[in-house]
């Protein structure tokens, strides 16, 4: 389990007091807003559309029940009783008061939480597969290495002023749930011919204004070389990355401009210099960190639980939830449970203080007190015995976390958009809600099957629209909200960027357009063929035709 060492604890406590002093000096006028802004951003505090917003970091999306209860308490005491889980596996509070933020941070520090490296041109919070350590399809637990990367990157003296922000994601499983191909660096654990686990290193992916799929620059990197290799990549980026133009400063542009081959050469040359130095990861260090993530005290089950199987057979609503929201666990008799934060008419990713507390209690009762945050803005209880699933399901239903829609059309990723974000061009949340209402019928959702709709309120792409099977990007057309539609994006191991299929559609027309896309899919799909496969087989044409009519397809061609 993730643990702070002494260094972290002292450092965080010091930072809280330092920030308390800075806030005091801002309120007393010793610091101007220009002087204060960079300081508050270093502590995760933004000024948004309506108020300040605090982004609290959740390393690789993993929380203890104690930490989740503290987030609930913070929501109630310092905010308006809720928080928003983001696509970066973090939580944002929308309404903290500047004068109370130091107390808020001090409360968070009591459960080893903070907001450092939640913003700025630093190495941001490391993200990982939400099913790490429990997935049936895993090579190895990536949290061990996510934690090693976290420790290495925390206040790394060389990398606190990078050309731009820097995001690293890890997956340990064949099926990529951490979107590693659209991060600055993605690390996918793989096995070499001898069965030794290591990393495929992917660099230069990213979304935003210039979306790109990352390039594999090394097929296999031994574990001991992880930090020296990352250091070499960061050094090349720090040295050659562009600082003259904010829009060209991400590593993806460097990799693109140099070409993957040249970039790789530079990294490998740098790496040869530092490879066997102080950054080499000794096996004992890996073991030390592995101990943080030891398995919980599982019970031993031989096979599936008979009572669970019986409930599946007789309770249709339970069966529907189990089919949608459970994932296979590496241990027999256990399941990974997804808690949907996408109820009908809700705000994707929002949870109230009461819901967070109830989820923490359920984690204690049924799941060894641990909760994960997914980049799809849902929660996960990673270790639930099948025996307890029916009781858990009923309890989740009571708090509104049992919508059986994981991975389906209403499990929409949505950024805060114009309802909260000062950079937004258009709203995201109400579009998600209108789509949710249109497809509220559970049988219909289920029939449509796996389909990811991602919505961003502006080109910054916090809602990952480029990698949604259907992506919506909010744009401002002379003061009116319009939405550009992209199709065929995907964030998994077969990552692809969605293609723009035609002119942007209005706020009023956007739900009909989505329905037209889905109608085309239903018409053309083969048995058991998911949306993305149908799209890849047929290309954009039938979908365009369905949204814009035959004429426009020919006009555009």
């Amino acid at each position: 389990m993730y643990r702070y060492d002494e260094f972290d604890r002292d450092f965080v406590a010091e930072r809280v007091e330092q920030f308390r002093g800075q806030v005091g000096r801002r309120l007393s006028g010793e610091l101007s807003e220009e002087e204060f802004r960079p300081l508050r951003l270093l502590n995760g505090l933004y000024l948004q559309l309506h108020a300040y917003m605090l982004r609290v970091v959740i390393p690789y999306g993993m929380l203890s029940s104690r930490q989740l209860r503290m987030l609930a308490q913070v929501a109630r005491r310092y905010d308006r009783g809720y928080g928003h889980f983001t696509t970066r596996q973090n939580i944002q509070f929308n309404w903290p008061k500047l004068e109370e933020v130091p107390d808020l941070l001090a409360d968070l520090a009591t459960v080893e939480m903070h907001a450092i490296q939640g913003s700025g041109n630093s190495i941001r919070n490391v993200t990982a597969d939400q099913f790490a350590g429990v997935a049936a399809d895993e090579v190895e637990d990536p949290r061990v290495y996510a934690e090693i990367v976290r420790q290495w990157s925390t206040l790394h003296p060389e990398f606190t002023f990078l050309p731009r922000k820097f995001k690293i994601a890890l997956t340990g499983a064949g099926h990529d749930r951490a979107a590693v191909r659209v991060h600055d660096i993605g690390l996918a654990m793989v096995e070499d011919a001898a069965g030794e686990a290591g990393f495929e290193v992917i660099v230069g992916g990213g979304l935003g204004r210039t979306p790109m799929i990352g390039k594999t620059i090394r097929e296999f990197l031994a574990k001991r070389d992880l930090l020296s290799y990352l250091e070499a990549i960061l050094r090349i980026y720090n040295q050659f990355g562009r600082r003259d133009n904010k829009y060209k400063a991400r590593i993806k542009i460097l990799v693109h401009e140099l070409g993957a081959e040249k970039f790789t050469e530079l990294v490998e040359a740098e790496w040869r210099e530092i490879k066997d130095g102080t950054l080499e990861l000794p096996a004992e260090e890996i073991e030390r960190i592995e101990a943080y993530f030891a398995d919980p005290p599982y019970e031993t089950f031989e096979a599936d639980d008979a009572g669970y199987l019986a409930m599946l057979a007789i309770d249709g609503a339970f069966r529907r939830w189990a089919t949608s929201n459970l994932f296979p666990h590496k241990r027999p008799g256990y399941a990974i449970v997804n808690l949907s934060l996408k109820p009908l008419d809700g705000v994707p990713g929002d949870a109230t203080a009461a819901q967070m507390e109830a989820a923490a209690d359920l984690a204690d009762r049924y799941g060894f007190g641990e909760i994960r945050i997914t980049h799809e803005q849902n929660l996960v209880l990673p270790y639930v015995a099948q025996r307890d699933l029916h009781d858990l399901w009923r309890a989740l239903d009571e708090i509104g976390f049992a919508t059986p829609n994981i991975g389906q059309v209403t499990d929409i990723i949505s950024c805060p958009g114009l309802d909260f974000c000062s950079l937004a061009s258009a709203r995201s949340i109400p579009v998600a809600q209108r789509i949710g209402r249109r497809f509220r019928d559970l049988d219909r959702q289920f029939d449509i099957g796996e389909l990811h709709i991602n919505i961003s309120g502006c080109i910054n792409a916090c809602g990952h629209h480029h990698v949604g099977h259907i992506g919506l990007l909010g744009v401002d057309r002379k003061g009116e909200e319009y939405y550009q539609i992209t199709l065929g994006g995907s964030a998994d191991e077969n990552a692809s960027l969605g293609e723009i299929v035609g002119p942007a559609v209005s706020y009023d027309a956007v739900v009909d357009a989505i329905e037209a896309v889905i109608a085309a899919y239903l018409e053309h799909r083969e048995p058991d063929e998911p949306f993305i496969e149908t799209y890849r087989r047929l290309g954009a044409e039938p979908f365009k035709e369905s949204v814009y009519g035959k004429e426009s397809v020919h006009d555009a061609a």
Partner: protein, 99 residues
């Protein structure tokens, strides 16, 4: 020339405010002082700069408003949302959050 008002965020809690005719900062756009011409707009912005110096508000700027049946509202949609809050019901509006 269109009607303008000055808006900003209050320093201590970040809440959206508008500059009123008496020099105070109010949460309702309806209470804002209207600038009918450039000179008036500049005078309001000078007051706002003084309020920044006095640590009352941050990042003041002028927005366009329209009078609609005796009511003043911002013309840009972004500013309507700033003035009235999120356009969606948030969890805070739901009874379960109010405990």
């Amino acid at each position: 020339m269109s009607l303008q008002v000055v808006t900003a965020n209050r320093l201590r809690d970040g809440i959206v405010v508008y500059l009123a005719a008496d020099g105070g900062w109010r949460q309702r756009v309806a209470d804002a002082a209207l600038a009918l011409d450039q000179g008036e707009a500049e005078r309001l912005m000078a007051l706002a700069s003084a309020a920044v110096e006095a640590r009352l508000v941050v990042d003041p700027y002028l927005i366009e408003v329209v009078e609609d049946g005796g009511l003043v509202r911002p013309s840009r949609y972004r500013e309507v949302i700033r003035a009235t809050g999120p356009s969606v019901e948030t969890q805070a509006d739901l009874p379960s959050a109010a405990e």
